[in-house]
Homo-oligomer: 248 residues x 2
Amino acid sequence: MTPTSTAPTTPFRQIKRARVSDAIVEQLLQLISAGILEPGKRLPSERDLCKRFGVGRTSVREALKPLISMGILEGRVGSGTYVSAETGQFQKPLAWGLLRDLNGQDDLVETRHMLETNAAHWAALRAKPENLAAIEASIQGMADHLQQPAEFQDHDAAFHFEIARATQNQILYRLINVIRGQIQTWIGERLTLAPNRAEALARTSLAQHREIFAAIKTADAAAARTAMDHHIQTATQDLHRLETARKR
Amino acid sequence: MTPTSTAPTTPFRQIKRARVSDAIVEQLLQLISAGILEPGKRLPSERDLCKRFGVGRTSVREALKPLISMGILEGRVGSGTYVSAETGQFQKPLAWGLLRDLNGQDDLVETRHMLETNAAHWAALRAKPENLAAIEASIQGMADHLQQPAEFQDHDAAFHFEIARATQNQILYRLINVIRGQIQTWIGERLTLAPNRAEALARTSLAQHREIFAAIKTADAAAARTAMDHHIQTATQDLHRLETARKR
DNA sequence: AGATCAAAATTGGTCTGACCAATTTTAAGA
DNA sequence: TCTTAAAATTGGTCAGACCAATTTTGATCT
């Protein structure tokens, strides 16, 4: 890669003793990235792959194993090995690397705040018509389920995902995805503990979402950021309040 | 999928058919996180682990495999399996999840900018004496190596790492770590292509670093953010300029 | 023909035992 | 004590077998 010449940096490549399984992993990842192996699709049985690759079953399995434990593939006994649904793909390794042994969830909340406010900013500047449509749809979904916490939460999550997507920044999207996924559980737990307040919170939340959307729609980045900032702060406080209220 | 009717969220746990290897993975990860398996340390041979866990070698290997391919463990034939050095631990899974098939590096630069400006902000508010000392040391390191691009770059990187650490936000630290690591290569390539300009860039950079540090030292979050913003914008522009200059 | 359901085939998960090549340990020889 | 060659150890791979879950098949009954 490096054009070298004077190059102080290593002109020599590490000799890599070919590890069979790694080579297979590489091929499979490429097939997936290339879209040849679509999400949900079943790949040939292990015994088939053995013949195709010309290797033993051990090697095939050792190649599949990391991909499975990273959530890219999914093994179902008796059925076969499948490419995981796009959502959640590569989530596990991300979560492993990012969220392993955290003390509390303060870091989580703080990082989320940081990412989402910036996401609102960029979404306002870059959202395409289809992004706006998707965001609006999620708002409609929330409005339709004000009294069903679980469904409301799903659409709430969708709202934030779509904003992240609208930034056209893949890294930002993935980050928000994984962090939101982690926080989601926490939110759900607290909401089910105080179901009577859920609807009130939902109404407040919905209003704020509309505000954010309006700012994004008019490409007002600063307003979008402010609105998102306000929304997340409110939501976080509400959830904390639910928690402390419960404890007393 | 939707957790059904009245019962908002599932009070029941998914029955997980125990996958032997997954259980082992969990145990190993825990041992590593708990520090019982320190970086660099050798773990028992596979055949030993078989006896200890009371499972076949296949299962042990299938447990080790994901950890190895994620860079957490390292297998050396004839020698044993070792816990990887702390640096870069869990980096690979993070990088896999976050940085796989990106189009360009615009997302990278943009995300870095977002993370680092926020890091400066929080570092200013939370830096402990030892953090300030570490940051100052990295600045000194830069000052001492103005004419050695490679060394300068190392201390430059250290500066940003230490700021990330000073935020006391683990997630932010890990993120900056992995993204910076990715960008680092890119920076190095460009700098070695125009070694004559390296020193001038280094001097500018150093001055900006001092500015950032001053703001952090006085706990002026806004100033720290502004200074970091300015620094990263300058640096990015300079590197872009180097690149276009080379192409002509 | 269509539906039902039990037997057969397929599939991922695990176990056992074996061999290879790289490495480490041991022990013999100088 | 130092060298060095043989032996033991170790991760990587292969082969064959069995299990349990699942899918497919095919015979039976309606």
